[in-house]
């Protein structure tokens, strides 16, 4: 039994045991359900082996929503613990674990898959392509992310959660101070998911550069496609830094190296630098796609073309450049001297300029527009003032000398939630609602959606605005409790109330999905929002080959020009279409990656070696595999398109 002791939880509690039981029961229920309804074959052939960018997008979406739930429960536990002084709901160790997993799950396993969900589904459609450049790799990206996420999520029931913060600073994250396997989980699960993300980055850049419809020059791409392109460029340049940081961290933790240790020459600050050289670009990896979604949504529902297209593109590019030059502002107080602090202070504040340009462009797009306040538009309009509070407090934090007052207080926590929630979460919810009919063939209820919006918008402010004050009064972040004498109690209670509001908002979104699945009309046509870009020129739901005929484009808003000015987009004869084959290899290989990560986490060397060989065997199999894809015949395309062409003409 000694062998199995390593899997025990170092710091158990009834809640964790209850979770174990719940996880076990859920898995049994899934297995029984799939068997009872005879869905194993369907699951395997339609989903687990698919290389279709639309289905991969939907799987990313499901994973992101699941992780939103997990991260949200973590958040509620934290707010509940700090709601009253000297609370005993969580102890210090559990609180450390909860804020660590909340951060990692929300950034890496919720926000990242959410943006890749929308990119996967929308971008090939927006540029008039059949799929992404490397469909098989796209499936691999998803499954690597998914297995990384699952690996991270089992940590709290097998071996113990990571507890060194989502930034996992050394020396705290080193073996001396973090003795459980928790930080090993951090190093390896993020590594696996990160490799998937890097592959996605390469895939999307190639797709956007090489697969655009004829006539779609770079400066005629829709704004979401532009932000996707630049975002993935950041991914390709930032994620290798994370790969190395995690590799070096793994060397320290598993193989006893001294890269980040306090002894034998190691340098703990090096981790902070490497982490944030990736981490700050990561912030823009999350926010740029959001900016793209807002551009699409605001333009569509203001009934106007996007104001300042060229300046939008320029500001995205400038932001992506600056994103690599500001990392040090995350640790002004850690002693690198006034010169570096001043330089990074200036670059940090400089980012506010291109961001400000974008804000004004959106405002000017709305000016004189016939604004329709749909749910996506509400999120977009709500984003502007709330995000601006986040941005302005960001400039405050960006001033190095002032930062000594704010650093690691709740003021900082308030600031970054004020940027990430309106900047990323609002955008994802806007994008979700906006593209939902294209994904699933029905619309989400506007009425319930608006209720959810108001709960989330007000909840965000109630939860996080009080933290500006408690932070300025000196409440440190990551402290599991405080005494009554500090006077932080009432404002923290207010934060908790706001968190409940947010939770109700998200519950309403879940209810909305349930409600709309049951009651929403399926007869919505292909373009229910009267939108402007090519993804709305396909059938709903979209055919596997996307477009029967390759679109010909000569404007930024091809569909709008088709609808309003009668400019033809689809011309010529229908030809047979080449499609990639499905494959189980990405899924199998990612499962092996999961086993590989798990073996390394627990220093089980023989399984680790076997799985390493198995991973390379999968790659060898791919090299020798004969896979030329298949064709969809003209007759088949004509048969599926026939009904739609008629409907389509009625719509116009």
């Amino acid at each position: 039994m000694d062998y199995f002791d390593r899997f025990a939880i170092p710091h158990p509690s009834p809640a964790i045991y209850a979770s174990m039981v719940a996880i076990g029961l859920t898995m049994i229920a899934i297995v029984i359900g799939l068997t009872y309804f005879k869905k194993w074959g369907y699951l395997w052939s339609e989903w687990l082996t698919t290389v279709d960018h639309k289905r991969i997008g939907i799987m990313y979406l499901i994973a992101a929503l699941l992780m939103l739930f997990r991260g949200g429960v973590d958040a509620l536990m934290m707010r509940a613990q700090t709601a009253v002084p000297d609370n005993k709901l969580l102890d210090a160790q559990h609180y450390n674990e909860v804020f660590t997993t909340h951060g990692v799950v929300m950034i890496i396993f919720m926000a990242m898959p959410f943006i890749y969900a929308l990119m996967n589904f929308v971008v090939p459609l927006q540029i008039g392509a059949r799929d992404v450049a490397f469909p098989r790799l796209n499936a691999l990206s998803f499954w690597l992310f998914f297995m990384g996420a699952m690996l991270f999520n089992i940590s709290f029931v097998i071996g113990g959660s990571p507890d060194a913060g989502w930034t996992s600073y050394f020396p705290l994250a080193g073996n001396d101070f973090s003795q459980s396997v928790g930080t090993n989980y951090y190093m390896l699960s993020i590594q696996i998911a990160g490799i998937g993300t890097l592959i996605s980055g390469i895939n999307f850049i190639t797709t956007i550069f090489r697969m655009r419809a004829p006539g779609m020059k770079l400066m005629k791409m829709p704004m979401f496609t532009w932000t996707t392109l630049i975002t993935n460029a950041i991914v390709v340049f930032a994620f290798p830094v994370l790969t190395i940081a995690l590799l070096l961290g793994t060397m320290d933790r598993l193989f006893g190296a001294h890269i980040f240790s306090m002894t034998n020459g190691g340098m703990d600050m090096l981790w902070a630098n490497l982490f944030w050289v990736w981490g700050h670009p990561e912030v823009y990896i999350l926010i740029l796609p959001a900016f793209g979604i807002y551009s699409e949504v605001i333009s569509t529902f203001s009934r106007r073309n996007l104001y300042g297209y060229k300046s939008m593109v320029a500001s995205i590019v400038i932001i992506s450049f600056f994103s690599f030059l500001v990392w040090m502002h995350h640790f002004y107080t850690m002693g690198q001297g006034p010169l570096s602090n001043s330089i990074f202070s200036i670059t940090t504040m400089a980012i506010a300029i291109p961001t400000g340009i974008k804000i004004f462009n959106w405002l000017l797009t709305m000016r004189k527009g016939k604004i329709k306040f749909t749910v996506p538009m509400l999120y977009s309009v709500g984003f502007i003032p709330i995000f601006t509070i986040g941005g302005v407090t960001g400039v405050m934090l960006g001033m190095a000398s002032a930062d000594y007052q704010y650093h690691n207080t709740m003021f900082l926590v308030a600031h970054f939630h004020y940027t990430i929630i309106p900047g990323v979460v609002f955008a994802m919810l806007a994008g979700l609602t906006y593209w939902w009919p294209k994904m699933f063939g029905f619309m989400l209820s506007e009425r319930i959606g608006k209720w959810a919006f108001w709960f989330i918008a007000i909840g965000t402010n109630v939860a996080f605005f009080p933290m500006f004050f408690t932070g300025l009064d000196g409440q440190a972040r990551r402290m599991y409790t405080y005494s009554e004498a500090t006077g932080f109690g009432p404002l923290n209670m207010l934060s908790f109330v706001g968190a409940i509001g947010l939770a109700i908002g998200f519950a309403l979104i879940v209810y909305n999905i349930y409600y709309s699945v049951r009651y929403a009309s399926r007869d919505i046509g292909s373009d229910p929002w009267d939108a402007r870009t090519l993804e709305w020129a396909t059938q709903t739901p979209v055919q596997s080959y996307n477009f029967a005929r390759t679109p010909q484009v000569d404007s930024i808003e091809a569909l709008w020009d088709l609808k309003r000015n009668g400019k033809p987009v689809f011309q010529g004869e229908i030809e047979k279409i080449h499609m990639p084959n499905s494959s189980g290899m990405p899924f199998i290989m990612s499962c092996i990656f999961f086993a590989w990560g798990f073996s390394l986490i627990f220093s089980m060397w023989i399984p680790a070696i076997i799985t390493t060989i198995a991973i390379f065997a999968c790659m060898a199999h791919r090299s020798f595999e004969k896979d030329d894809g298949h064709y969809i015949s003209v007759e088949e395309i004509k048969a599926t398109e026939k009904d739609w062409e008629v409907l389509n003409d009625e719509n116009r």
Binding site: A133, F239, P240, H258, I259, T263, N264, G266, F616, S623
Partner: protein, 199 residues
């Protein structure tokens, strides 16, 4: 297969081939960042030797020089292999390709000797920050070479079996990009780790 464009070399003959090469260039961009991060970390930790040895005390010129010459030559021979491929000479291509891999194997053998030597003189992974990052950087490059050897072997087998087709030519060309890239990384390792360390 997709439409073949005969005006272009085989490796660029169809759209998927072009995308493969384009995508691989972006992958190399990511690899540049990967090794740049390793080098930056190496330079930061270079003199943080703790109680362990410094670079000047452990570096030996002879094995490093052999590794350098062998790898530079292999980069030349993979270039010759690509030239033969463009001329449609399958056997010449296979010969140069095989020489490339043999040279890579020699490189790897010497590097394994080098690693065991470091371990035997008390410069193992766990000794200091310097030895840790040195062995991780060299090891990352060496792991790339190892993967390349297997990958190259598979490509040789496929060219032998199927001849020079758009598919095999595409794979071979991409492999040559990878191999040249590893060579360039080695030039940086040779100049900025070994020579700088020995001075």
């Amino acid at each position: 297969m997709m439409k073949i464009d005969n005006s272009l070399p085989l490796e660029y003959a169809n759209e998927q081939n072009k995308m493969n090469i384009f995508g691989f260039w972006i992958f190399i961009g990511a690899e540049v960042m990967l090794f740049a991060t390793l080098f930056a970390t190496y330079f930061t930790l270079e003199h943080r030797v703790g109680n362990g040895p410094a670079g000047a005390e452990i570096f030996e010129l002879t094995p490093v020089l052999i590794e350098t010459l062998v790898l530079l030559t292999s980069s030349f021979t993979i270039g010759l292999a690509m030239n033969a491929m463009r001329l449609g000479k399958k056997n010449a291509m296979l010969t140069f390709f095989s020489i490339t891999l043999l040279l890579g194997l020699v490189f790897l053998g010497v590097e394994i000797y080098e690693f065991t030597h470091y371990a035997s003189i008390g410069a193992g992974l766990q000794v200091s920050a310097f030895t840790g990052i040195l062995l991780t950087t060299l090891g990352t490059h060496g792991a790339h070479v190892t993967v390349g050897l297997f990958w190259g072997l598979f490509i040789i087998m496929q060219v032998k079996k199927h001849g020079l087709t758009p598919k095999t030519a595409n794979k071979s060309f991409i492999f040559s990009l990878y191999w040249h890239f590893l060579d360039i990384v080695w030039i940086f390792i040779f100049s900025f780790i070994y020579l700088k360390g020995m001075m």
